[in-house]
Symmetry: C2
Subunit: 744 residues, 2 copies
């Protein structure tokens, strides 16, 4: 408590704590008073002195905000109970020195915010103490001993962490700026911040000028420091790149990192992360140079990016496509800032509902006003939408399609991935799909093979199984040809082309997305059409999936399906491997699959698989116009360090065929109620699925056990001026454009 400074040498972890004196406390109080009484020049990043003054008393009237502030206070008070160590950098990510420097930066930021709201000088003293300690340490640091090859840091093994550190610290410094003496400011700025800025920009051009989220963090760090230090050179460098010609820098990042609709090519998990430097720096730009109208830049791409991030979720968790830790969702730190910033710009009532049950939020003016509006009952339910998110800087890199049965809790959501590769964190899963219902994953994606921050698991980094399993095509619900992953599993090849997303339609009863992939395998093209249908013949939305594969020679076609739940029934029954389990294959991900059971299904015969997930039943029904091997699999083979979760799957295999059409349907049905001891509708309602092909056109007929029929006709040609027809003994079906649904 009180004022202190901690000084540290790189030869050890020696701490020096200055005496806490009355004079010191008085000086602190005086400084705080001066800051509050005058038109202060700081803070000027996420909130302004005027905002703080305006709410100096009234924030206590918000129960929600007060509770947040109190929790932050408890955390910060506990952290500073003994002066935090500022150790000589030594460890890689996950190790002690790495984590300690991260913790210190977060504490600087938190303590700064607390100082602004409470005016308690102890908090500005905490910031001052740590920043002076870093000012002593930083100038003498060489490159980090565990440096990563491409972009080493000094405090950290990679410069990315250093940029994040600076963003945290400059926010804390900005908050307490007015309370510091000129001597302190000068020491901290010259020894610490200016050194870091030079290191992150001029001395790290390969990162700073890169159009990549690492570059965005560096730009944000340098630009925000520029505003706080009144150094327009830094700001220009951040906005326009080292050459200051706009060929790199923040504006270029905004041009190229996001699609016009605000989708980030690496997928939702990294979108959340990439969003952080973008919105923080943009907010700072808005505060300091409102005339730039940064949030309107490029059609408001940043506002759209925040909304897109929220839409990329189900039941609070992000869709785990590409490298993704599945427990990440809307409750993450990044959204603590992004949500209030978006709300501050739009005052959209539906954003307020995201505060329900949320334990954390930015302690900013936006955060406070948002909390008060929510407490005043101004919120509306968040409107989860069916949307297609185009990928690529111009929107030409494929798309992610999200089809929902509604917006209510427990609604069904079908996600169809026909995006571009998404750089190094992308998976080889063209035309993959996922399904959610009843608050749960039903058809799932493994996500990344990684235990974030758990040192025993490869130091918390990506595991070897991320490459050998999670990225491979067979780990996804999409086509594998000849046991090989899309693009041979080669990133560079995959980056060159995106799928052709030739059709997307949102109707009241029928939602459809369709795409074609012609580059993943030489000589093989596949078109997938997925639908979310409402029909009186089914108690819940029905998914239909049509995968048409054309090879110019004979191939083996494998179509995996990963589901979450407990098997209830398979028809015809699969034959289990009872006494010995073998692997499905020995490479490209297949080596991680145990073969638990299998059977062979004749051409056109339906295989159906029912499972229980939560309190509902789900049945997948599959036909193909070829003899089908059905394999039941489970992950966990070739896993010497027990890194994989053990999850069930099916694999539908057609051997030795040129062209094949797979047609599948997913029903949601019935209820299992253990507490009340009843079960209803545990069986599938689909009696038959039939496909009638005519040239490139298809008519799919789904018949229920009570005789209702649903017919779906497809030309796979989006041109609505063209008409099509299929004649069957039952009658003639004619339509225009891509598809039509018939009563039949």
């Amino acid at each position: 408590m009180g004022c202190y400074a901690a000084a540290f040498r790189h030869d050890g972890r020696r701490k020096v704590k200055l005496p806490q004196g009355l004079l010191c406390a008085l000086l602190c109080l005086l400084a705080a008073w001066v800051a509050n009484a005058q038109g202060s020049s700081h803070p000027r990043l996420l909130l302004t002195a005027a905002e703080v003054r305006e709410n100096a008393d009234s924030w206590r009237q918000s129960e929600y905000f007060s509770a947040l502030l109190k929790r932050t206070q408890e955390r910060v008070d506990s952290y500073f109970q003994t002066a935090p160590e500022v150790p000589w950098p030594k460890d890689a990510g996950g190790g002690y020195t790495h984590e300690q420097h991260k913790r210190n930066a977060a504490a600087v930021w938190d303590a700064g915010l607390l100082y602004l709201w409470t005016g308690e000088p102890e908090y500005s003293n905490h910031v001052r103490g740590l920043l002076l300690a870093y000012s002593d340490l930083y100038p003498s640091l060489p490159e980090h001993p565990q440096k990563k090859e491409q972009a080493p840091g000094r405090l950290f093994w990679q410069s990315l962490n250093e940029a994040v550190w600076l963003v945290n610290s400059i926010l804390g410094y900005d908050a307490v700026y007015e309370s510091l003496s000129t001597a302190d400011r000068s020491r901290i700025e010259s020894r610490l911040f200016r050194n870091m800025v030079e290191f992150l920009s001029v001395e790290s051009p390969q990162t700073f000028d890169r159009i990549h989220n690492h570059g965005a963090w560096a730009a944000a760090a340098v630009g925000m420091t520029g505003y706080v230090l009144n150094d327009s050179g830094y700001v220009n460098r951040a906005l326009l790149g080292l050459k200051q010609d706009g060929s790199a820098g923040f504006l270029k990042q905004l041009d190229e990192l996001l699609s016009p609709g605000g989708y980030y090519q690496e997928g939702p998990y990294y979108q959340r992360y990439a969003l952080m430097p973008l919105v923080l720096f943009a907010k700072a730009i808005e505060q300091n140079e409102p005339e730039r109208r940064i949030f309107d830049y490029r059609g408001g791409v940043l506002r759209k990016a925040i909304h897109t991030t929220l839409q990329l979720s189900y039941n609070g968790k992000f869709f785990p496509i590409n490298d993704a830790i599945k427990d990440k969702g809307l409750d993450t730190f990044e959204l603590d800032y992004a949500i209030p910033i978006a709300w501050g710009l739009t005052l959209e009532p539906s954003l307020l509902s995201l505060l329900e049950g949320r334990g954390t939020l930015a302690l900013t003016g936006d955060g406070l006003r948002m909390a008060r509006a929510w407490e005043a009952g101004l919120g509306a339910p968040f409107a989860y939408a069916s949307i297609q998110l185009r990928d690529g800087p111009e929107g030409g890199g494929g798309a992610l399609s999200i089809m929902r049965s509604g917006s209510h809790p427990g609604h069904a959501a079908l996600v169809f991935k026909a995006t571009s590769q998404g750089m190094g964190h992308g998976h080889f899963d063209r035309l993959n799909w996922l399904y959610y219902d009843n608050g749960r994953e039903i058809i799932s994606d493994y996500g990344a093979a990684r235990f974030l921050n758990i040192v025993q698991k490869n130091g918390g980094h990506y595991l070897p199984e991320n490459n050998s399993w999670a990225k491979q095509t067979v780990a996804h619900n999409t086509l594998v040809v000849d046991h090989n992953s899309h693009f041979g599993g080669v990133l560079q090849a995959a980056e060159e082309a995106a799928p052709d997303t030739h059709f997307f339609h949102l109707g009241e009863q029928t939602q459809i997305a369709s795409a074609r992939e012609a580059n993943a395998y030489p000589g093989v093209e596949f078109t997938r059409t997925v639908m979310l249908l409402k029909s009186q013949a089914f108690p819940a939305p029905l998914v239909v999936d049509i995968l048409k594969v054309r090879g110019n020679t004979a191939h083996q076609y494998d179509l995996p399906l990963y589901y979450q739940g407990q098997v209830i029934e398979s028809t015809p029954p699969l034959v289990a491997a009872s006494t010995t389990l073998k692997r499905v294959g020995n490479s490209n991900g297949y080596q991680h699959l145990w073969l638990r059971a299998r059977n062979t299904i004749e051409r056109g015969v339906k295989y159906s698989h029912t499972w229980l997930a939560g309190n509902r039943f789900y049945t997948w029904s599959q036909i193909a116009n070829a003899r089908l091997s059905v394999l039941m699999t489970e992950t966990g083979a070739s896993d010497p360090e027990f890194n994989l979760r053990h999850e069930p799957g099916l694999l539908f295999r057609v051997e030795d065929a040129n062209r094949v059409t797979f047609v599948g349907a997913l029903e949601t049905h019935g209820e299992y109620n253990g507490a009340r001891e009843f079960t209803t509708g545990s069986g599938s309602r689909i009696a038959a699925i039939r496909r009638f092909g005519a040239g490139d056109k298809d008519l799919i007929q789904i018949e229920t056990i009570t005789g209702e029929r649903l017919c779906l006709a497809f030309s796979y040609d989006a041109d609505t001026s063209k008409t099509h027809a299929i004649s069957l003994p039952d009658g003639n079906f004619a339509w225009a454009g891509f598809h039509r649904r018939f009563s039949c």
Copy 2:
């Protein structure tokens, strides 16, 4: 809506619906008015006419009760939208006719309750219609075509279901009695209820006079019918058995089914079920013959049984020992009645807290008063306790010990099972244990192999794997000798003897339960001592487990441990079976275990196994005074119908030894926070576990990585007058009685 009667013939499902006339409605209203205006003689089972009158208006002031009632109304209104079928009995449990008769009985009860509270004649008409239909059907019914051998029914395949049906229906009839004409009453009573009573009692002596929960249901059905029909002969038969001499019947059930503390030998899952007829009939006895003081009978065993049922749970779910479906818990139907009845007797504030988040409760006077008390803020948190529950009618059949770290949500609970066998639903798992923490199962029991009411899964009955896996010893966390289950897996042998529960101690820092099993295997005796310890050396409660096995010849000793979570680390590392999985054995449950990995650990060397469950880490550390094989297992082998869940386990094996002592410890540590991206304390703090034996005495020393030591000395002799000592190079340890804890 309105009055109607449905009549059904056994040659079909024909429905006859009488016209709904004004006269009919007026008669119904008149009858309801008469019932409410006069001192009515009915209802007289779970609530009285006086209770209903008293609360006729005021129940609407309870939001909770009104909401319950409204939900029941919605359900019942929807059920009676078309006249429910009363089909000719045909199907076994789970089939249509079985479920339909169950649904009808529940609807009769519900509609009766609604009639009492709302006075709406449509509800009494629903009851009347169904009961008249059953009056037409019942007299002509032969034995059920799917009859179960031991106790066939007529409406149902077993008489148990028929007794439950009668309990439901007589409650509905009691509720609407005053609204019915004499002719209707006479028809329903003579054709339906009296026939059923005779069938369930005189004609089914093997069930009626059996001391078993089936007998309790029959007694409740007959006795409650006796009260409603004013037939004291039925009541006496129910209370005292067919001979009316007390050799059977309800009072004998109360004497013998429950232990003096209110524990039911089959375990919590069936305790919940067995409780239902006991408390319903007891409540009816209390209403009609308060002078019997039935709730004080045998030291208040029924009150104790209700409380015991509540204590036999963690985070709302029952401890799943013996045959148990794991999703059953305090939210079940049976407790909707038991909880308010207990509250009506005791007005214990802690029972009120069980209404928090509870969506269902009995629509009785007790239920209403309880809801109002809760709404008035009179509740207190339920006091989950550390207790030992003696088993057996005299308490001499072993015990179930529950040790808790507190009563707060997320507290840790250690369950030690040293009970008697528990009849046909008992598992062969003497001295098994379970552990809960942070709201989750940590060390788990498989429970029963059954999907309740799911017809595809063996008609919803117990699966073959219940015998071949779930009941077998190797499916539990206890000793298996020579690959064979306790008592050779023979029920009769197991029923003959219970473990010797020789020690139980509840201290502030130390809770201990110890028991000895000498009958499970000829020539082998084993003593197990489990402890829940608080210690400054550990951040969370520590479990210590000492299993001492003495064989008079050499045996193979297997000690399984089933945990829930994802493996983080095994030290020394186990060697995984990467390309082929084999089974651990081929009989007595071993055939269901895949052998995933193994290693051999030298005598005295510690094996430790860390996993992640929820957001916490757990480490099990094991030593033995013999060479130890460590096997990592997973359930799912020899499972042709995919009936088993796939769950991980460890199996510690000592081959070819006479005497062995296994010492294990379970730590809870650290935090994994995915949303906030941090992990703390993911590693074990135990550096070493050492055992120093001296004769039959042991000193266990646990040393942490920071050098703290915890020493636990055991004589295994509860006689506190005896003193004991062990001398070590470090010092001498002396104590009196069973155990002592030392700083060392």
